[in-house]
């Protein structure tokens, strides 16, 4: 069996990539993708910790992960909806251009 650390490392890497993407991409949809990646990394972490926990047969970890996926999906839908409405208004998805809240 691969040690826990391995799974965690992968999850951390995934999280970092997702974070990098969310923080540096100009396109709004790519930011959303990044967020999705972060969420999935969190899910991986959940599953890894479930598998290596003292009671791996209890379905708590899996339930947790499935809820998380569902929430991620809902949130992605909402996010996409926001992006579409912004696009309708600003005719672009370039986040650099969305600085109306600039102080």
């Amino acid at each position: 069996m691969t040690p826990l650390g391995g799974y965690l490392l992968v999850a951390a890497l995934l999280f970092a990539i997702g974070l990098a993407g969310a923080l540096t991409r100009r396109n709004a949809i790519l930011v959303l993708i990044g967020i999705e990646l972060m969420l999935n990394a969190a899910n991986l972490n959940l599953i890894a910790f479930w598998r290596f926990s003292p009671h791996p047969e209890a379905l708590t970890g899996m339930m947790f992960a499935i809820f998380s996926i569902a929430v991620a999906a809902a949130e992605a839908a909402v996010g996409l909806g926001l992006v579409i409405s912004i696009y309708r208004h600003a005719r672009t998805t370039d986040l650099d251009k969305m600085n109306r809240m600039k102080g």
Binding site: A22, L23, T24, R25, M101, K102
Partner: protein, 672 residues
Amino acid sequence: MLWLIPALPIVAAGIAALLKQPRRKTAASLAIGSMLGSLFVSLVAFVYVVAGSAHGGVVRETYNFTWIQTGAAQVDLGWVLDPLSAVMMLMVSFVGLLIFIYSLGYMAEDENFTRFFCFLSLFAGAMLGVVISNSLLLLFMCWELVGLTSYLLIGFWYQKPSAAAAAKKAFLTTRVGDVFFLLGIVWLFSQTGTLLFYNGGAGSMEPLNLLWLAANPSGWGLTAAGAIGLLIFAGAAGKSGQLPLHVWLPDAMEGPTPVSALIHAATMVAAGVYLIAHVYPLMHAGMPAGGTTIALQVVTWVGASTAVFAALIAVAQNDIKRILAYSTVSQLGYMMAGLGMGGVAVGMFHLITHAFFKALLFMGAGSVIHGCHEEQDIRRMGGLKSDMPTTFLTYAIGMLALCGFPLFFSGFWSKDGILEAATHWDISKGPFYMLAFGALLTAFYMTRQVSYVFFGNWRGHGHAHESPAVMTRPLAVLAFFAIALGAIGTPAWPWFRGFIEGRAVEVDWAGFAEPGLMTLMLVSSTIVLLGLGLGVWIYGSKTVKADAPDALEKAIPPVWTVLQNKFYVDELYDATVIAFYAWWAKVADWLDRRVWGGAVAGVIWLFGGGAQLSRLTDVYWVNGGFDKGCEELTNSGGLLSRVQSGKVQTYLRLLALAVVVLAAILIWSSRG
């Protein structure tokens, strides 16, 4: 009760002052009524004193009260009723009443009638205050009040610049005398602790204090008594127009004639003589037997010099009132000399008789001026004896009394009293000769005046008319007294002298037999007749043209010019005292404007500078600092706000960074 005498006129003056202008009847009746009241009380007091002295001894009643009390020292005021004050107050109120009645006629056409009577009453009240005062301080206060009312009355027609100037001159000149008077008063108070004349033995005129003063030397060979006496005499010299301070009296003729009659003939100028009579015990203190004190000598010489000096000037004057004014100055000199040589009774007798005939003369002059339609130059009058008979008769009586025409007229007896004292004066016979010469001159100039005014041809314009009865009746009354008063001063019945000195006297014809008395009477009669004769010879009943030079002027022009210009005394004063004063005033003005003004300007500059400094600090430092600070804040805010790029990703980046830092901290803190 005595206080009523001055109080009545002063109250009348006060009420009159509050009246609106054209309330003639009220003002006049107030004034005359109050004088009547004062006269009545004076008569009662006089009778009381006469009755008292009939038993021998001097009647002297005083009423003193404390005015100010400071610790141990106290200042008392009070009034005194003794023969001197009784006779003086009777004279003042009587002559005053007559002049008030005369003024009804004289000032009838003047629009400031009410104001005139108000001032007259105030004057009368103040003068009576001087007379009854028992305290030198009260006397001085009333003295100053008299000076003030004199100023007001001389400058009564204030729109005339000459009148205003004359009033100012009178006030300032008497003020010079008053400064010395005040010094004398203060010194007396410091030496004796009291300013009362008589205070049951403790007064300043009473033997106790006099001995102390006379024994006290004060420098220059004078005793304290002598020095104080001289200082007080300086005040009297100012008020009574003695030699250096006489310059204001002739100019005072700018006032209305009743004023000249009352103030500058009968009463105010007599106040100086009265003062010296009152403080005579002081001036007389420490007199060595058979000699006299320095103070009295000074009084005599000043008096005699004034008598001659003024008589000389009177010869060359052309204004009817000025002649009389100089005559007054001269007669005051006589009075002072009489006081100095012969004592209180001699000087006072001449004062009383002089008051009557001088008031008569002035009022007669006023009647003449009125009749000649306000003409005052004698060269433009003439021949009035037919046009104004009553005035002529009374004026002639007054003139003869003034000259001292033998036997019938009071002036003869009073002047003779003075000349007699002069012959008995052992220090020097100088005053006698001066006074005799003065008598000659008096007869001369009066004859000149009378011949110019009443005899000869009429040189005026228009037609002269006699004055109304309200003016001529007082003249008649005064003329009567000018004659009758002689009776109480003859050597046969020296009632006046006895009254003042507290002795009872009887009619004694043997009094005429005193050695040297008949010779003296003869000598003085000769002098008078000589003067009259000279006057008639030079001036007589000649017809003269109005502009022609005077007969004497043609004879001795340089002397005449000097006399007419009053010995240039006024010019001398102008060049010295007034010039010095003007210079001093300039210095004071320079001091005020440059030095003090400069100091004030400096302070202002300092404050202004301070204010400017404060303003600059405020604008640049405070405001600037504040503004800069706010600017920096804004800038930093601006800077900080750049963090808010509005871009979500920037915010997230920061957030992520913060989380990492936090995690690092947590891990390292739990590990360490």
